[in-house]
Amino acid sequence: MPNKYSIFSLIKNSFSYHENWQKAWRDPEPKKQYDVVIIGGGGHGLATAFYLAKKHNIKNIAVVEKGWIGGGNTGRNTTIIRSNYLWDASAGLYDHALKIWEGLSQELNYNVMFSQRGVMNLAHNLQDVRDLKRRTHANRLNGIDAVWLNTEEVKKFCPIINTSPDIRYPVLGGTLQRRAGTARHDAVAWGYARGADSMGVDIIQNCEVKGIKKNGDSVEGIETTKGYIKSKKIGVVAAGHSSVIANMVDIKLPLESKPLQALVSEPVKPIIDTVVMSNAVHAYISQSDKGELVIGAGTDAYVSYTQRGSHDVVEGTLKAILELYPIFSRMKMLRQWGGIVDICPDASPIISKTHIKGLYFNCGWGTGGFKATPGSGDLFAHTIANDEPHKLNADFNINRFVSGDLVDEHGAAAVAH
């Protein structure tokens, strides 16, 4: 890495009043031809390019992004990272990612502010209790840390939760994954961009893909707003716009794109030092290092690419937040925004080859893709480099919708999608 960040570089640059730091990545014009082109400069796309260069020794790579890197869902999510999924395939996938998260700041020489503050999922009725207990058992069989907490233990772990038995949806207990937590989402995109760029990957921003050129059954290149780029391998990591790219080559995907909202409050002193999610009432909350409460709301129930969301969805979430945390009743909300998430019928992602040679899709992460960023990039890089899936993403093949071998995490993942 040309300009390694360290205490020494910090001291050295302080002498020039921090005005001479090198740019973290270049801003190149596209070359005529690349070995691999990644469409989409979010966390997953940049991570894919990073691992292609680092582990598979492919250096002639471009990442094309229609906006700016990390300006889509990477910069819009609520930064929750966990791996406590029910099914074996999902547990393998998400825990692979969590293990990479644990060493990511060192690997990237970039502080992604990964904080293993724990994620707690609340149960509000007897069925929740049974489901969540079953999930902790399944997690532990897969080597994933998970514990069941009763109501008193929930209260002890997060004292501001209202555990009174007479609220509308009383807290009957919860699960806790202590290795789970949060990370700084922008830093993840920037860290991967800097790492990939230093190995020669061209990151091309403000470059929208307009078409994909095929020759028979294989891809030849992409038409973009910055001209034609030749490549025999194209990885599509376009999140909410995956179907738009797929429609260019007449592929239909089992996806629906919907706005998912989040909001943050004014900053306050530390009040909640963990992440609490509640499926039944749909409210998740954590506190950023700046002190803002970070609140995740639900999706609008219809297809839309508008990057905003409906007011009634926010209202429902805030009602639930106030019932569980009456202490927040006078907090003011500062910002609200939406991102377009691509949701699969089984709420599991697709990391897969297609019937067109050289065209790969990594999509369908729906409402929960951020947590998987490093693992997704690693496995997608493997799939592209070897033209076959890694054993951890073999079950997330696009053909599962034909065979019926779905990985149904919709209700099982302890998250209201």
Binding site: H241, S243, V244, N247, K252, L253, P254, L255, E256, S257, D300, A301, Y302, V303, S304, Y305, T306, G309, S310, H311, D312, D342, P345, F401, V402, S403, G404
Partner: protein, 91 residues
């Protein structure tokens, strides 16, 4: 969030309605003869268009009737509303 002109009740808030997804997907006439690929196409594959899309809606908290709608998914503008069984007024 927007207003929807229900063909039976008139203009109401979108939160009264539930979305039923892409319209005009015809249920297979002879399901026993379908291949796995055709089933996948019918059950799961969607156009998910960014732009003008034909879709089904239900006035769940109103008359509870189903109808069709033409909506631009890039800006949520509604171009037409028409009853089930009718031909779309726009191509």
């Amino acid at each position: 969030m927007f207003l929807i002109n229900c063909p039976y009740c008139g203009e109401r808030d979108q939160s009264e309605f539930s979305a039923g997804g892409e319209a005009h997907i015809v249920r297979p006439k002879q399901p026993t003869e379908l291949s796995d690929d055709q089933w996948a196409e019918y059950l799961f594959m969607r156009k998910n268009i960014k732009g003008v899309q034909f879709e089904r809606w239900n006035h769940a908290h109103g008359c509870r009737k189903w109808f069709n709608m033409v909506r631009d998914t890039s800006n949520d503008k509604i171009h037409a509303v028409y009853k089930m069984g009718e031909n779309p007024p726009i191509k």
